[in-house]
């Protein structure tokens, strides 16, 4: 019979207007992997924060080895033996692995290897964290917790940006750690993984525990049922079938890239080595690739900047399918860093919406008290349901969902032939995600080519008609139809297995 190392008893935590957790009780046993599953907003993150000492519960308490404990801050939690690996990661990018590990414990920085420890010995202590892959980072974080004396290890969405094989490897590591006597808590929305690896499950819905199950009592369908009142929204990689139907219609090309090579440079991004790519109007294409795969080198070319091109052919086509000498003039961009690269935080909503329509800002308009600007802004805000309706509100005060809506409204209005969206639904709740997805689809249906880039495999799969996979400066495969799943995408990204012979046709006929 396994020992209860830690427990949450009757935890309740409320915020103005929302009860995040209501009388939640969880028992964590030594040596087992415990999965906390639930939809967005079910209270998982709040529980993680309470476990980690970042939040104090309103009522209820935590137990450690049978004794009630109250953590005043994260340091207290760490000292007590609870280690949390947050989703966002808590490593200092510009310092080495060894330094980060030393930071988490009471050691002095040393340049030799023994600081590095069991689980990260393969990673290498002298490497800078920013050079590590997502899997290696997770390992370092776990190592840091363990070296700090953690007996309870809490991981919040540890496999969010990992490919399935990497997730598998991580879980095996977790199993090994559990076997040493730790209690491990995994918070995840990836049901297939936790179904395979977790020993017990606590299912949360709207802040309450709706079920406690052991592995032999559970199946995918049962979990889905418990999590929501319906099948929608759980497995984000499932797409409504009508989306897939539209992928079948024939399309006119917008851009053809053939045998593209770029000059090699000193950056960590791979130069392109013979890339073939076709972008058609009216489709949603995902471009997938790990950092360093060459996507960052490709991006300026999509924007029309061919300065880095060393060889190969880049051909744009106009609406009637004929060659066009120049790239399209109205390329929309939705960057990943919405507030800092897409909007001007200190400007208000109207001014931000006008960033692509600066003709509305001239001094002549100033004389008419900017009526045209206000009308334009109001129209866009109505169309996309941006609240609050006061367009003079500073954008930095908006919520994440509204920020993205403003950005989306502006770029969708502006873009004509091409729209490039980077991580468009990251960090958004389900309702806003649906709005964004619908808007992108609608824009594609209107004849624009929408290109999506993201680290999140589920996001890539859910948004696109087809996925082009990059690695080390080349296109290695393209996924369409039945192969459009997170599983195959993960396999392809890790170059374990992918459909071959599906690469772009070489239809370019330029002389160089």
């Amino acid at each position: 019979m396994r020992r209860v190392i830690a427990a949450l008893r009757e935890i309740t935590k409320a915020y103005p207007g929302i009860v995040a957790c209501r009388k939640v009780s969880v028992e964590l046993l030594a040596g087992e992997i415990h999965a906390l599953v639930g939809e967005n907003g079910a209270g998982k993150t709040t529980l993680v924060k309470i476990l980690g000492g970042l939040l104090r519960p309103d009522t209820g308490w935590m137990e450690l080895d049978g004794r009630a404990v109250h953590f005043r801050n994260p340091s207290a939690a760490k000292r007590a033996g609870v280690g949390v690996v947050h989703q966002a990661g808590s490593l200092i990018e510009t310092m080495t692995v060894a330094e980060n590990l030393a930071l988490g414990t009471s050691g002095r920085p040393r340049s030799d290897g023994d600081r590095v420890g069991l689980w990260t010995s393969a990673v290498g202590g002298e490497r800078l964290v920013r050079e590590l892959s997502p899997r290696e980072r997770r390992l370092v974080e776990i190592e840091k917790c363990l070296q700090g004396g953690a007996r309870v290890l809490v991981l919040d969405e540890p496999t969010a940006t990992l490919a399935p094989q990497e997730s598998e490897a991580l879980f095996q590591t977790l199993r090994a750690i559990a076997d040493t006597g730790c209690a491990i808590v995994v918070v995840s929305h990836k049901l297939p993984e936790v179904l395979t690896h977790a020993d017990r499950f606590t299912v949360l819905r709207k802040g309450q525990v709706v079920a406690r199950l052991a592995r032999n009592q559970v199946s995918g369908e049962r979990l889905v049922q418990l999590l929501t009142s319906g099948p929608e929204g759980v497995d984000v990689s499932m797409r409504p079938t009508e989306d897939r139907a539209s992928a079948a219609t024939a399309k006119t090309p917008l851009l053809r890239i053939s045998a593209l090579c770029t000059a090699s440079n000193r950056s960590t991004e791979a130069p392109l080595q013979g890339v073939d790519l076709v972008l058609d109007r009216g489709e949603v294409v995902s471009l997938a690739g790990r950092p360093g795969s060459g996507l960052a080198t490709l991006l300026p070319i999509l924007y029309g900047d061919c300065s880095a091109v060393a060889a190969g052919c880049v051909k744009w086509f106009d609406a009637s399918g004929k060659d066009s000498k120049d790239p399209p003039r109205a390329i929309g961009v939705i960057p990943a860093d919405r507030l800092r690269a897409g909007l001007v935080g200190e400007f208000n909503i109207a001014e931000n919406l006008a960033l692509r329509r600066r003709d509305l800002l001239g001094w002549r308009h100033a004389l008419s008290r900017r009526k045209a600007l206000h009308a334009f802004a109001a129209q866009l805000m109505r169309r996309f349901g941006i609240e609050p309706p006061d367009q003079r509100m500073k954008v930095s005060a908006l919520s994440g969902g509204n920020l993205q809506k403003v950005l989306l409204a502006r770029e969708l209005d502006y873009a004509q032939e091409l729209l490039v969206a980077v991580s468009p639904t990251a960090g958004l709740d389900a309702a806003t995600t649906a709005v964004v997805r619908q808007a992108l689809r609608k824009k594609a249906a209107g004849g624009t080519c929408v290109v999506v880039l993201s680290d999140d495999l589920d996001e890539l799969v859910s948004l696109a008609d087809r996925i082009v996979v990059f690695s080390r400066g080349r296109v290695i495969t393209e996924l369409t139809g039945d192969q459009l799943t997170a599983e195959s995408l993960g396999l392809a990204l890790a170059e374990v297995s992918f459909p071959t012979g599906v690469c772009q046709e070489q239809r370019c006929q330029c002389a160089d």
């Binding site: 961009v333 960057p335 860093d337 800092r340 690269a341 897409g342 909007l343 001007v344 935080g345 200190e346 400007f347 001014e351 960033l355 692509r356 600066r358 003709d359 800002l361 001239g362 001094w363 100033a366 006061d390 003079r392 509100m393």
Partner: protein, 353 residues
């Protein structure tokens, strides 16, 4: 004047009182002139016709240097180099006068103005180019160029441009009187004050209400976004800094043509730095540039005159300005919070109508 605008004014008045009080405290602590009160300084600045004209006289260079710092500030840059750009402007003006000697005064004066503008702009172009082209921080570069400019002027007045008739004092020959800008009335005040005030109003209007100004402000507040929406960030970075240099250069021109009439090492008691401080006091609220320049001009003028009449240390003005800026900065979060509360209240009222 809306309530929202009154909040910062009230705070700044309080900060001014505190700054002057602080100066009095420092003075008395250091055992000097405890009887110099706020009243003496302010009275000297604005209380008499003489005081007022002296204040307005200094408004010209200080307002110009404030603009010289404020405009690059809107693009996110620190132009601490106003002092050096002023010096270069003065040098350029004298060079223009030398070039135009023998020609009709209209041409000579135009050459002086042109020389000042070009020299000041060129001095500003150095940090501008380094920043826009290479991404090197312009603050330190423009600051070091101040020292270079001051020494360069020293070199000129001790060397090639030294006035042989000046009995060993380092200065250039006096400008011919036809090139002197005429004073208004009996004081030293000249018509340049109207030009400068008009220029300030025009530039503020440009920044706040035109498309050019909008793009400039966008560059300053979010260069990455500006790049995304195809605003030419580098052009604005470079252009605003060069414009700043030109404006400070014009200040140099006025010092030569209207006030001092010759090049001397003491051409500026720190106008460039005062202008920079003023610009920082008014950050985000350009409409405050005029009143604050006036205030600081009064401070500088008054303490300078008190130095002559009562032996008040000349560094008083510097301390006062530094203190004033510090106090204003300390109050900024409070002021912003109050302003925001006002704005929210107004929005709620508007929504309930």
């Amino acid at each position: 004047m809306s309530v929202r605008r009154l909040i910062p004014i009230l705070w700044f008045t309080l900060a001014l009182a505190l700054a002057l009080g602080g100066v009095s405290l420092v003075l008395s602590l250091l055992g000097r002139r405890p009887d110099v009160t706020i009243g003496a300084i302010l009275g000297g600045a604005f209380g008499s016709e003489f005081g007022l004209t002296e204040t307005l006289l200094r408004l010209v260079p200080i307002l110009l240097c404030a603009l010289a710092a404020a405009i690059p500030a809107e693009s996110g840059q620190f132009n601490i180099g106003g002092e050096g750009q002023l010096h270069l402007g003065a040098i350029g003006a004298v060079a223009g006068a030398m070039l135009g000697s023998g020609h009709p005064p209209a041409i000579a004066l135009s050459l002086m103005v042109a020389g000042a503008i070009i020299a000041g702009a060129a001095w500003g172009a150095i940090p501008a180019g380094l920043r826009a082209g290479l991404g090197i921080n312009e603050a330190l570069i423009s600051l070091f160029l101040n020292y270079v400019a001051i020494h360069f002027l020293q070199y000129l007045v001790h060397g090639p441009w030294k006035d042989p008739a000046s009995l060993g004092w380092p200065m250039s020959p006096t400008l011919p009187e036809i090139l002197w800008l005429k004073p208004l009335g009996s004081s030293r005040l000249h018509a340049g004050v109207f030009v400068v005030v008009g220029l300030a109003i025009g530039l503020i209007w440009l920044i706040q209400l035109t498309r050019l100004g909008f793009e400039l402000r966008a560059v300053g507040r979010s260069p990455r976004t500006s790049t995304t929406v195809h605003i030419p960030v580098r052009s604005y970075l470079f252009g605003s800094m060069v414009l700043g240099g030109a404006l400070a250069g014009v200040a140099g021109f006025y010092e030569i043509a209207a006030v001092q009439h010759r090049l001397r090492p003491e051409i500026s008691p720190g106008f460039g730095y005062s202008g920079f401080l003023v610009a920082w006091m008014c950050r985000g609220r350009l409409w405050l540039l005029l009143p604050f320049s006036l205030l600081v001009a009064g401070l500088v003028s008054s303490t300078e005159n008190l130095q002559i009449t009562t032996g008040l240390p000349s560094a008083t003005a510097e301390i006062a300005q530094g203190l004033l800026l510090l106090l204003i900065l300390l109050g900024t979060p409070v002021v912003s919070r109050l302003e925001r509360r006002q704005a929210i209240r107004r929005a709620l009222e508007a929504a309930s109508e």
